[in-house]
């Protein structure tokens, strides 16, 4: 029995070792993950540290001096870096809102004109007045991160409120404390929705999970084509009176439909079970159509490049997971290191995620999401073009 096991093992290893490309993929995959994920997650673990402070835009319109004191304390903190100017000019609230939309900052702090007055006012009056400090944020920002920024800023403001109201206390040097009970800091999300709303974690994550899942069509499509070639049905179909492009279109359409059903189902589940708001349905559909096209294009490309089942499987999984990681499915792109963030823009995943977030949590219009759809369509065209160039029909 042992000898037979030995014979089977040797045979299996010989077969595997003959497929060099598959072996490269098998070993390259975990190595890739180590490099990519370590690089990407660097941002997560180091975000908010001295080495990688979180950059927050700052607009100080305070008439008094208390905002400046708060800013001094915040700036002195490891892990936060306040930026109050761009190209030599102080930031304005309009510029900051535009930069937030572009994803240049995760958040911005705006001290209103009455900040010093509100902080020093001993008669707290919270009847309907706007908070004296506003924390503006992109709706797509990770909620835990936003929470931690909010808590940090709020803590410093409360301390300054305490010292402002109690006055100097030389008998208690280094006094720590806070003055709560009033909304000194308001969090406001920058979106185009008519009514301010905070996206849920599910609304932030469902698009990412959907995109991740869609790209697994690459494996199904590529291995299906390969199986047809190996079983001879592909060859037989080619002897029928039709063009090669007819054959490919007929092969791809079912996978495209499956992708769209996948996307529809994911969002349906999100809507029914988690109350996810889907935004403009036409805009959502446009992003979905372009996303599915790019996934199918990549599937055809893998089928053109992979010659064996092991190669196709390895390449499909490697691409699905690596592109997903690079594209911000697992780690928000804004906390990635700069180089990696740039690289993420070369993935269709990043553009699809931006498109979905724009529709679902930023309330962007159809016109505003067309650039993302255009890029996704461009990826589809590129994948198809290379695939057709490399595809072997015989």
């Amino acid at each position: 029995m042992l000898y037979q096991i030995f014979a089977l093992t040797v045979k299996e290893l010989k077969v595997l070792l003959r497929d060099r490309e598959a072996l490269i993929l098998l070993f390259a995959m975990p190595l890739f993950f180590i490099f990519v994920m370590s690089w990407a997650l660097q941002g997560v673990y180091e975000a908010g540290t001295k080495e990688r402070p979180i950059k927050i835009a700052l607009v100080n319109n305070d008439r008094g001096r208390r905002a400046a004191a708060v800013i001094l304390d915040l700036d002195g903190m490891e892990g936060l870096h306040l930026i109050d100017s761009a190209e030599g000019r102080p930031l304005t609230i309009e510029k900051v809102q535009a930069d937030l939309k572009k994803g240049l900052f995760p958040a911005a702090l705006h001290f209103q004109e009455n900040f010093s007055e509100a902080v020093g006012n001993t008669a707290p009056d919270s009847s309907g007045k706007e908070a004296p400090a506003i924390l503006l944020a992109d709706p797509g920002v990770n909620r835990q991160l936003l929470r931690s920024i909010q808590d940090t800023v709020q803590g410093v403001i409360r301390y300054h409120v305490l010292t402002a109201r109690l006055g100097p206390m030389p008998q208690a040097p280094g006094l720590k404390g806070s003055y709560a009970g009033h909304a000194w800091l308001e969090v406001r999300l920058v979106s185009d929705f008519e009514h301010q709303r905070k996206p849920t974690a599910t609304e932030q994550h469902i698009p990412a999970y959907t995109i991740f899942g869609v790209y697994f069509i690459v494996l199904t499509l590529a291995s299906g084509l390969l199986r047809e070639k190996h079983e001879g049905t592909f060859r037989r179909i080619l002897t029928a009176p039709m063009t090669k492009s007819t054959l490919l279109v007929g092969k791809l359409i079912p996978y495209y439909i499956i992708n769209l059903v996948q996307i529809g189902l994911m969002f349906l589940v999100g809507w029914v079970f988690y109350g996810v708001k889907l935004g403009n349905p036409v805009a959502l559909s446009l992003v979905s159509l372009a996303l599915a096209a790019s996934a199918n294009g990549l599937g055809l490309l893998v089928s053109a490049v992979g010659r064996t089942e092991a190669q196709v499987n390895g390449l499909s999984v490697l691409l699905a997971v690596t592109l997903g990681a690079l594209g911000g499915m697992m780690v928000p792109s804004f906390i990635m290191p700069d180089g990696l963030r740039l690289l993420s823009r070369v993935t269709p995943h990043a553009w699809a995620l931006a498109g979905y977030h724009d529709v679902m949590i930023r309330g962007r219009s159809i016109l505003e999401i067309l650039p993302e759809c255009g890029v996704l369509a461009g990826f589809a065209v590129l994948f198809f073009a290379v695939a057709l160039w490399r595809f072997r029909f015989d």
């Binding site: 079983e231 001879g232 060859r235 037989r236 080619l238 002897t239 009176p241 015989d394």
Partner: protein, 317 residues
């Protein structure tokens, strides 16, 4: 003169490191049953691939029913049926679903499609198995379905690549009958095979192919008459001495003599004449003959004569 169903002129196909087809000329007439014989690696499958549009030739021309396969592939393929050597259908689907799919590829639809499916199932003797998943079929049934798919659209020309590989004798003869019937009704058939008896039974003419070249083309009977060598195997009752050996060698119809002790093989174009001459020898009567086996000249011996080699024999089930 009959018009050509297939006309091949100076056809060549090269792959990196190998010359699969080397400048062949071939003509198959309308209504003919034509065989392309040769061992594995002779270039038969490559030639078929070019005829069916699966691969492009390196040089030369191929006309099918007067049309070029390279410049008019759609028109050519519409009238062409192909039965590949491997089982090329979907094992997860039923026979009917397979036939429906392939029929639609040829533009069949509606009642005509359903009628053709019924006819194809009838020809393949699979009527009662139409809804069964093909993965559960026996090899013989799969082979018949494979052929039925090629016949769905009533092609003018049917090309079969080793259609009886792995088929038992009973099913093989059933397939031969089917193909003969189709040919009788006007279908041109081109068959590649390495089975000599298949070519001899079915083909009006055969071309013998080896190492990318066509060595000769003619009717099986003419080829056998010209090149075929029969064998007479004799087992004597006692060891054959020098004088009988010399007498056997000198018989007019004997081309070669092999053997030792009691077992001898005489190569001849005229086995019956050789046997009569052998039995008439005094030395034969002295020694006595225990048994005689005659192997008539056939295409196998034609091939051996022309190439000096045997065609490989595949295991017959």
């Amino acid at each position: 003169m009959e018009s050509a169903a297939i006309s091949i002129r100076n056809l060549s196909k090269e792959y990196p490191g190998t010359h699969a087809v080397r400048g062949i000329d071939l003509e198959v007439f309308q209504g003919e049953f034509f065989g392309l014989l040769g061992p594995n690696g002779a270039g038969k499958t490559t030639t078929i691939s070019i005829l069916t549009g699966l691969t492009e030739p390196t040089s030369g021309s191929v006309l099918i029913n007067g049309r070029s396969i390279t410049s008019s592939p759609i028109e050519v393929k519409s009238a062409l049926g192909f039965v590949p050597q491997e089982f090329a259908f979907y094992h997860a689907l039923s026979a009917m679903d397979n036939l429906r799919f392939f029929g639609r590829l040829y533009g069949l639809k509606g009642p005509r499609l359903e009628a053709r499916i019924r006819d194809a199932l009838e020809i393949a003797s699979l009527k009662d198995k139409a809804r069964k998943v093909v993965g559960e079929f026996s090899n013989g049934m799969k082979r018949r379905l494979n052929i039925a798919i090629g016949l769905l659209h009533e092609p003018r020309l049917l090309i079969l690549d080793e259609p009886t590989v792995g088929v038992d004798a009973h099913n093989r003869h059933a397939l031969y009958t089917t193909l003969e019937t189709l040919n009788t009704h006007g279908m041109t058939v081109l068959l590649t095979t390495h089975r000599m008896e298949e070519a001899q039974r079915l083909c009006h003419r055969v071309a013998i192919m080896d190492q990318g070249r066509i060595i000769t083309t003619d009717t099986p009977a003419a080829l056998i008459r010209r090149y075929g060598e029969g064998l007479v195997r004799a087992e004597f009752r006692a060891p054959v001495g020098k004088s009988l050996e010399e007498r056997m060698k000198s018989l007019e119809s004997v081309q070669a003599l092999e053997g030792r002790d009691r077992q001898w093989t005489l190569t001849t174009l005229e086995p019956e004449k050789t046997v009569r001459a052998l039995m008439a020898l005094k030395e034969t009567a002295d020694v006595g003959v225990r048994s005689l086996n005659i192997l008539e000249p056939n295409l196998e011996s034609v091939f051996i004569h022309l190439t000096g080699r045997r065609i490989e024999n595949r295991t017959q089930i």
